[in-house]
Symmetry: C2
Subunit: 165 residues, 2 copies
C-alpha cells in the first residue's frame, strides 16, 4: 500500500489526470484564497482544462478582469524590472489598490492616459459611426471601421492597447 511521491511529469492516463486535476485545482484555489486573505493582497488565478468548459478562476470573473487590467497597463519592461526602494513598491501598491495611478511612474501614467483616450474615442465613434465617410481610404479609419462592419450586432466596448518602448 504505497501512496508514493509522484514524479513531476505529464499524466498520460486520462482518468488519473482528471482525478489529479480535480484535487489539485481545489487545493490551488484554496491556496490563492488563503494568501490573499492572510496578507491582504490582490491575486488571481486562471486555469484552462479539458475537464472544465470554461476557465476556472479565482476570485471571480470580474475580479480577474480587474486584476489583469492592472497587469496590462504595466509596460513590459516594468513588468520584468525589479525596483529596490521600498517606498516605490509601497507607493505602487497603494496606487494599485486605489485603481487610480498617479504620475509617480511616468510610463504607467502615460499608458493609462492613452488607454482612456482611446476608449473615449471608441465611445465617440460608436455614437457617430454613420458620420464616417465610407469613401475614406485612410488606413487608420479603415482599422477602426472594420469592427462594426464585421460584427453586425456587436459593439466595441473596450480596447486595451499594448505599447512597446
Amino acid at each position: 500500500m504505497t501512496r508514493k511521491k509522484v514524479k513531476l511529469a505529464f499524466i498520460a492516463n486520462d482518468s488519473s489526470s482528471k482525478a489529479t486535476y480535480k484535487k489539485r485545482k481545489k487545493g490551488l484555489m484554496k491556496k490563492v484564497n488563503e494568501l490573499s486573505t492572510l496578507c491582504g493582497i490582490n491575486a488571481c488565478a486562471i486555469i484552462y482544462s479539458p475537464y472544465d468548459s470554461n476557465p476556472e478562476v479565482w476570485p471571480s470573473n470580474s475580479g480577474v478582469q480587474r486584476i489583469i487590467s492592472e497587469f496590462r497597463t504595466l509596460p513590459e519592461m516594468d513588468q520584468n524590472k525589479k525596483m529596490t526602494k521600498d517606498s516605490q513598491s509601497l507607493r505602487q501598491f497603494e496606487e494599485t489598490k486605489e485603481g487610480q495611478p498617479r504620475d509617480g511612474d511616468d510610463r504607467s501614467y502615460l499608458i493609462d492616459q492613452c488607454l482612456k483616450d482611446v476608449n473615449r474615442r471608441i465611445e465617440i465613434l460608436g455614437n457617430s459611426r454613420m458620420e464616417l465617410g465610407e469613401s475614406s481610404n485612410n488606413v487608420a479609419a479603415e482599422a477602426i471601421q472594420t469592427l462594426p462592419i464585421i460584427h453586425g450586432s456587436a459593439r466595441v466596448s473596450r480596447v486595451d492597447v499594448h505599447i512597446t518602448f
Copy 2:
C-alpha cells in the same frame, strides 16, 4: 512549542505578514507549476503585494499575457456559463492548445478574427504612419493617430478589443 493551525484572517503584524507572504507565494507558484505540468494544461497566477514592486507571475510575463488574452476573448456570458457536453469542452481545450480556434463557437471565432484584423491593421499603420494626412478630421483616424502622438518613442504593438453582444 506550538506550531498551531493558523486562523484564516488578515495578519496585521507587518513582519509576520511578509514572512507568511514569502513562504506562501513560493508554495503557490510551485502548485501552479505542478498542476500545469501534471495535467498538461494552461494556467496562470498573478500576485500583487507591497513586498514585490511588480506583480509576481507564473509562468512568465509573456505566458500570462497569452493566457489572459484568451480569457478576455471570451464574452462575459460564456465566462460564466457552464457547458455540459464533454465533446464541447474537449474541442475548446484543443482549440486553446493549438492557439488556433476553429469556428465551433461562432462568437469566439468572430472575436478572434476581429482581433487579428485590427492587429494586422495596426501593423500596417506602423509601417505607413507618414502616409496619414494630418488634415483628416475623421474621428476614427484621430483615435488611432493619437497613440504615436502621445508617446514619442512608443510603438503600439498589440490591441485587444473587448466586444459586447
